[in-house]
Point group: C2
Chain length 210, copies 2
Amino acid sequence: MINRKCIIRLSRYKSALKRLKALGFVKVFSGNLADAAGVTSSQVRKDFSLFGITGNRRGGYNVDELIERIQEILGKNELQKVVLIGAGHIGNALLRYKGFETGGIKIMGAFDIDPEKVRSDGEVPVLPLEEFHEFVHKHSIRVGILAVPDVAAHHVSEIMIGAGITGILNFAPIQLRGAEGVIINNINLEVELENLIYFVNASEKTGKKG
Amino acid sequence: MINRKCIIRLSRYKSALKRLKALGFVKVFSGNLADAAGVTSSQVRKDFSLFGITGNRRGGYNVDELIERIQEILGKNELQKVVLIGAGHIGNALLRYKGFETGGIKIMGAFDIDPEKVRSDGEVPVLPLEEFHEFVHKHSIRVGILAVPDVAAHHVSEIMIGAGITGILNFAPIQLRGAEGVIINNINLEVELENLIYFVNASEKTGKKG
């Protein structure tokens, strides 16, 4: 079955393959990808067989072919167009994030309610929020990144869904719920860091006991 | 059993409670927190009973008491001190991220190898990487955020672990593996966005078929 975790692993394999390719490698073995993705070799082979990717255990896989095949699966042979709402600190960092472009993802436009943040001189234009609906339709965009403060997040998510966005990557520190047919992926930086701190403290306590 | 998901839910409850408190609410019901965290009411009650938190189903929970109790559990009644390595776009956005401070987390210092990024005039000083080891010891810090480019990430993680850091929140787009006793939480923005795009595309195909 193709679930979220499986697709995340494919993304990681692809990312590792691109690094290997940049270093001049032509062949890759399931063990290399297992290392890079933090899984077992047999997991890598299981994932590949799920998508009909076959290799030669001795000869390995051809790096170029494997990248192309994974990109086909991930739907990345065409450029994936996304939009961003919220051109604050996090939003601006995402606009400059190199990883998206090398992964075939392009932020086409950013939107903000603050007129002072609007500008068209950058590589990606920052436009007034009123133009969001038209822009999304014109460029047939389905995926948006939400990076606005918590109090605005719910309202802005409704604007996005109303304009036809069906996938939202949410950086606002509240748990957004999707409407029917809308996928929301919440990234809560505070919760992630808090979680890490909890387990570091917990393991220190255990360590002291032992 | 207290696992990662349970602690993440506690963080979300706490975050929702602080918002309710800011709006003047005194009492809260498991259904409110269930809404905010995207779980069922019975899950909320199960989590609370796991930590010995009791409430009155009719009268609800007292917001202030509940915040204090959850903060005790999460170890947040004292300020949690963390460091950051990598003062690029993502790193700078994290330095300015309001959510950490309101959550009782304080980035004490940031570090970079680029002398041009070093500055002591900001609220959080950006120091040369050579000073990392001494700084971490002086402030007894155990948790660090890593926001350097992919090629530097592995080397920098070794510097962090060498200085006594036992929890790393990694924003570099490679999967870092922890040493013994070190917890690594990888946040890969490209993988998250790619994943969302895959499922949006997949559901569009299904929708068209149907």
